[in-house]
């Protein structure tokens, strides 16, 4: 006769936490499922793999079994009759990690297709919260959560970096608009709007913040960025940690109050908006008196009230729109981006299905931070890739930084001929300035603003070296070239360049090893490094390391404009007028 394994403290704690997290909606979602299977084909994990274990009902049952064992009346007495099962071993906990973190993006598509109204995202998040409290969440989720708890933002951006970037973007804005009155105001009191952003806008995608600056300036808005509590993202939503969720919301709300702002506006971040506007008040009980808006809603208001004018002929390429799950299925925002796109582009192509029926980008629920599940994420992204391809569009617009990363990743993986843009970037590009003309992007002419700088370009692909060298060389940089890690280190030691671009995946010494070696070398450690990679998941190797993070990154295929903008930022250059 087999003996039931003795429960460890961890398992006992897991069960206690699970019981503690039960609420009425969770009980209903656990209890009402009839296993009809209607949700099966609404999940991109199942659709892409046809693996029965990826069916939403099966995945939810992995958690539901525990509910049945401890809450269901029949399950307590005859567990096998209703599929009740306890957590028995630590392997069971590991399996739960794989299911709730690695096999579900909590996109809620299955919920919207469930006749019973089972909220499977709630089921998954309930168990995520338990596993997070047990310190079993994937490392990426733990790292980001730690940064939010300790530093106040999910990318560990220091106050100094934040302020420097704002200052640099401020100069960029003035130069680009050729208007000294244009600015990214910081900590201004009594403004109409306090603008909270995604740290990605500081670290890797400053163009979206620049776009917002242009739009606010064109509308003559009274707005400000806060110096603290500026991160609207919230990993509490993904980790299931309500305390973190409440904490992040509180940080943002406190700074709106400190600055006496009349409203809070969240930049284009799906989960950030959802968490800030809808969830964190529920978690913490702290409710901001001022209204909370999404930047999309603000832009719609500007267009409708005539505060900004748009010229759609500035965006001629066909564009489609991807609905971020947290906006479409949990945030009530589907029409605003479509209105804006129809006003600012020539050729808008709807993708099908759309709005609340749209497929997940495959990177939701914090999936982009969990590199251990990257392979599966990209495999199931095929559903999205096929959907994108069918539109024939050249640009996929979205309103979420997380979706941007996931879409770029799948576009690269499935070799689609597409670019990704935020709605605000396309709107900014279509802006008609009353006083001064805004240069249509790309704003950089072949001037020599990189003159005097020596840049080492490291990549094992000769075409890539040639391309990067041409772009940077055309702007006056002196280019040094290396085709492998050893050669790069040798040139670095000999030439001491102003900065280097570094490919991560190279034969022999990899980019990661080069980076580590540089950071351990007192003569090389201060040379700025700009990562350029076709395998974004490798970035984790560097960002998870104990070294300071690189100065920036861009994914392949390289967007020339992003490359130049980042190089400017890294070299701390003013944007010279073209």
């Amino acid at each position: 006769m087999s003996q039931e394994p003795i429960k460890s403290d961890k398992i006992e704690k897991a069960l206690a936490l699970f019981k503690k997290r039960m609420n009425r909606q969770a009980v209903l979602s656990f209890g009402v499922c009839v296993h009809c299977g209607m949700c099966t084909e609404t999940c991109h994990y199942y659709e892409a793999t046809k693996d029965p274990k990826m069916a939403p009902a099966y995945k939810a049952d992995k958690v539901r079994k525990i509910y049945k064992k401890h809450f269901d009346w029949t399950g307590k007495i005859i567990p096998s009759w209703v599929g009740a099962r306890d957590i028995k071993t630590e392997d069971d906990l590991k399996e739960l990690v794989d299911v709730v973190f690695g096999s579900c993006t909590m996109c809620r598509r299955c919920t919207f297709n469930c006749p019973m109204g089972v909220d499977k995202a709630l089921i998954m998040r309930t168990m995520r919260g338990v596993l997070t409290e047990l310190d079993l969440a994937p490392q990426g989720v733990k790292d980001v959560s730690r940064d939010q708890w300790t530093i106040g933002n999910q990318m560990g951006v220091s106050d100094e970096d934040y302020l420097e970037t704002i200052e640099w973007l401020n100069d960029e804005l003035k130069t680009e608009l050729d208007d000294p009155s244009a600015s990214l105001p910081l900590d201004v009191e009594n403004c109409n709007m306090v603008y909270a952003i995604n740290p990605r806008e500081i670290k890797y995608a400053p163009m979206s913040l620049l776009a917002a600056g242009k739009i606010f300036h064109a509308a003559g808005e009274s707005w400000t960025l806060p110096s603290k509590g500026w991160d609207n993202t919230n990993f509490g939503l993904f980790s299931g940690d309500n305390a973190l969720g409440g904490h992040m919301g509180k940080l943002v709300f406190e700074n709106v109050q400190r600055l006496k702002g009349k409203s809070l506006v969240c930049s284009e971040c799906g989960h950030g908006y959802r968490a800030t506007k809808w969830e964190s008040p529920n978690w913490s009980g702290i409710i901001l008196e001022q209204p909370i808006y999404n930047f999309l809603e603000i832009m719609v208001d500007y267009v409708k009230s005539g505060r900004i004018k748009l010229d759609k002929t500035k965006n001629t390429e066909p564009v489609t729109y991807h609905d971020p799950c947290n906006l479409a299925r949990s945030g009530g925002i589907t029409e605003e981006p479509r209105f804006l796109l129809r006003q600012s582009i020539m050729d808008f192509r709807e993708m099908y299905p759309n709005r609340a029926d749209n497929w997940c980008c495959s990177g939701g629920g914090g999936a982009m931070s969990m590199s251990e599940f990257s392979k599966r994420r990209l495999e199931v992204a095929k559903v999205k890739a096929d959907q994108l391809k069918a539109t024939g569009a050249k640009i996929v617009a979205t309103a979420c930084h997380n979706c941007v990363d996931a879409l770029m990743d799948l576009i690269r993986h499935y070799k689609l001929d597409m670019k990704v843009a935020l709605v605000g970037e396309l709107v900014a590009n279509a802006l008609v300035m009353e006083r001064k003309a805004i240069p249509v992007m790309p704003a950089y002419a072949a001037d020599s603003f990189l003159s005097g700088f020596r840049i080492l370009v490291t990549d094992d692909e000769p075409d890539m070296v040639a391309f990067i060298s041409a772009v940077l060389g055309d702007h006056g940089a002196e280019i040094l070239r290396a085709s492998n890690g050893d050669e790069a280190l040798s040139i670095l030691r000999k030439e001491k360049p102003s900065m280097m671009t570094l490919d991560l995946s190279m034969p022999g010494k990899t980019g990661v090893e080069v980076y580590e070696e540089m950071k351990n070398d007192k003569f090389l450690k201060d040379i700025p490094v700009f990562i350029i990679t076709g395998q974004p998941e490798l970035r984790k190797l560097i960002y998870d390391g104990s070294y300071p993070p690189p100065n920036g990154y861009v994914d392949k295929p390289i967007d020339e404009e992003k490359l130049l903008l980042n190089v400017r930022k890294i070299l701390n250059l003013q944007h010279e007028k073209t």
């Binding site: 609420n23 009425r24 909606q25 969770a26 009980v27 209903l28 979602s29 209890g31 009402v32 499922c33 009839v34 296993h35 299977g37 209607m38 949700c39 099966t40 084909e41 609404t42 199942y46 029965p52 274990k53 069916a55 009902a57 099966y58 049952d61 009346w73 029949t74 096998s80 009759w81 209703v82 599929g83 919920t111 919207f112 297709n113 469930c114 006749p115 019973m116 109204g117 089972v118 909220d119 506007k277 809808w278 008040p281 529920n282 409710i287 209204p291 909370i292 479409a328 949990s330 945030g331 009530g332 589907t334 029409e335 479509r338 709807e350 299905p353 759309n354 709005r355 609340a356 029926d357």
Partner: protein, 216 residues
């Protein structure tokens, strides 16, 4: 009618129904002990409209991809539940208004609906057994419930002409068993369904997600 059948059709049913009612009341009290998640923020949409929409999805197969793309499954759902409703209604008509079933047209309607529901039930059972996905998500209760319902529908089909003694015994015995078993099985989903759809509709209505936008 002999005393046993009368006892089975009447007193036993009332006892079984009372047990079911008591268990349901206890189950609802138990459910309400769990605190609900309350939307604390100002609403963007309308909660009442959201709740209404959430309930109405049952009658709007086009509102869910799962039912619009697989309309036959929606039809199966409708027929099966109509059949169950017809059999329940018959279990009340036969003891108290037996003359109703003497009308050939009414009897034919009831038997047609119940027969169709039985066929759908068999399709559902076969699907649960033959489909890999359905097998992997099914518990013993899932199989037992659908088999039992099919047997019950079959017995109802033969019992409602109110002529075959043993069919009537089988039908009412099964009905009594169901009334007691249902609260402890998945078949009681209809008790939780209104709560589940209510809270989903409330939240999504509050946030302006429901009614779902379909575009122009």
């Amino acid at each position: 009618m002999d005393d046993f059948l009368k006892f089975l059709e009447d007193e036993i049913q009332i006892i079984a129904l009372s047990i079911m009612g008591i268990v349901y009341i206890l189950k609802v009290i138990w459910l309400l002990k769990f605190k609900p998640i309350i939307e604390k923020t100002p609403a963007k949409g309308n909660e009442s409209v959201g709740i209404g929409y959430s309930f109405m999805t049952i009658a709007m197969p086009w509102s869910m991809e799962s039912s619009s793309k697989k309309f036959h499954k929606y039809l199966e759902f409708v027929i099966f539940h109509l059949g169950v409703a017809a059999a329940i209604t018959a279990s009340l008509i036969i003891p108290y208004w037996p003359q109703v079933m003497e009308n050939g047209m009414i009897l034919a309607i009831f038997q047609t609906i119940i027969a169709a529901a039985f066929l759908v039930g068999m399709i559902r059972l076969i699907r649960r057994i033959s489909s890999q996905v359905m097998r992997i998500i099914s518990s013993r209760d899932d199989y037992f419930s659908i088999i039992l319902l099919n047997v019950w529908l079959l017995s109802a089909f033969f019992a409602i002409p109110n002529k075959n003694y043993w069919m009537l015994v089988a039908f009412f015995a099964l009905t009594a068993f169901f009334l007691i078993y249902v609260p402890f099985s998945k078949i009681s989903h209809y008790l939780l369904w209104p709560f589940s759809r209510y809270y989903l509709g409330k939240t999504l209505g509050h946030r302006g997600v429901y009614p779902k936008k379909t575009g122009s």
